[in-house]
């Protein structure tokens, strides 16, 4: 029995309606509901090499077994290799179990024990905690630090190293042993390139026996 025109239209509309319902069901209802609270996207990577750049120039490079990114924070665990560059050349090699990089503030926190070994002059630095301030290219130890450099042994309660200017700012119970000379002072600024030290406040310099 041939269908009337009206019946054909009703059948066509029904078919379209069914198709739309099926599409909506498959497209939306079959997927899990979105979370009620927004969570920042996080990504965990394994065996990654991270490179920090400033003005297009490589500042540091890290090889890490574990990288967890949460927003602006990048947490690095099981660090295998960390190199700080100066003028595109390796400047400092750093050993630390854990680090955290804030991309927004450009602060790299190194959790100790931290060992920094320089490419030149037998530079070595030990601290329990270090901060690398990318914006000013400064390495900061807010706590006790011990430095071996070019035959000198340096200890201080705090340290800030401006790697661009090559200045090391030492403060608090500073002791510098240089050959037969032992310096005791409260504050000093060491110029690594000029190999000179400006000191502030009171100073004690002892020449140890048998140093001649």
């Amino acid at each position: 029995m041939p269908l009337s025109t009206k019946a054909k239209r009703i059948a066509a509309c029904s078919a379209v309606l069914v198709a739309v319902i099926i599409f909506i069901t498959v497209r939306f209802l079959s997927q899990p509901a979105p979370p009620a609270v927004a969570v920042p996207p996080s990504v965990q990577l394994l065996e990654s090499r991270l490179v920090g750049r400033k003005d297009g120039q490589r500042q540091w490079e890290i090889l890490s077994r574990s990288v967890l990114q949460e927003g602006e924070l990048v947490t690095l665990g099981d660090l295998e290799e960390m190199v700080v560059f100066q003028d595109q050349e390796p400047y400092l090699n750093i050993e630390a179990p854990r680090a955290q990089w804030n991309r927004k503030t450009e602060v790299l926190r190194l959790y100790g024990p931290v060992l920094v070994v320089g490419e030149q002059d037998n530079f070595q630095l030990e601290s329990d905690y270090l901060e690398w301030l990318g914006s000013s290219a400064t390495l900061v130890s807010p706590g006790p630090v011990r430095i071996l450099w070019s035959g000198m042994e340096i200890e201080a309660a705090e340290m800030g190293m401006d790697t661009e200017k090559g200045l090391v700012h030492l403060s608090g119970g500073v002791q510098i042993r240089d050959g037969g000379l032992l310096w005791k002072l409260e504050e000093a600024v060491y110029d690594l390139q000029a190999e000179s030290m400006d000191f502030f406040g009171n100073v004690i310099l002892e020449e140890e026996a048998g140093s001649d």
Binding site: L181, S196, F199, G201, V203, L205, G210
Partner: protein
Amino acid sequence: MIRKLIVPSLLVVLLVAAPAVCWAQGDTGKLEIIGAPPELSTGRYDRQAGIFSADVTGIEGALVQVTFEEVKIVGQKMEWRTDDDYLIFTTGATLTKEDFTLTAETIEYYGDANKLKGQGSVVVVTEDATVYSDTFDYDEETDQAVFIGNVRVVFEDGELTGEKFVMFLETSELQFFGAFQGLFNTED
């Protein structure tokens, strides 16, 4: 009564008890900057050149002090060349050892040569005499202290003035060169 004596080219030997200023090699020394607030720069050490310099002239109450065995030098501005152990104090300095005191505008110590020099308003005070002069040179090898220029030796019984005067510290002898003038206190 004071009797005035003018004797040209006369050798005078006086007994003056003064200990030798001896800086023995191999002994330990200590340099201190004291009385300086922590925020003020007090000096610099140039490691390449081996020069330590300190200047506290602008800091009230601050001093630079070097102690070497029994010898102590105090001043406000100094420089120490570590390579040849040369030390110079300027802007008023005082060296003391036991009862020997040297004050001068500039005091220099030549460690390698074992020599000590004082320049400008030199005053040396010993147990028995005070000597004023323009310059003072002490050589540890010869144990001679040479005073030159406007020399005046003041002791208990009078004073002597001249242009050059040598003090042998170990033997406690004094020697005048050239013309000198003596003023002595004598009892009537």
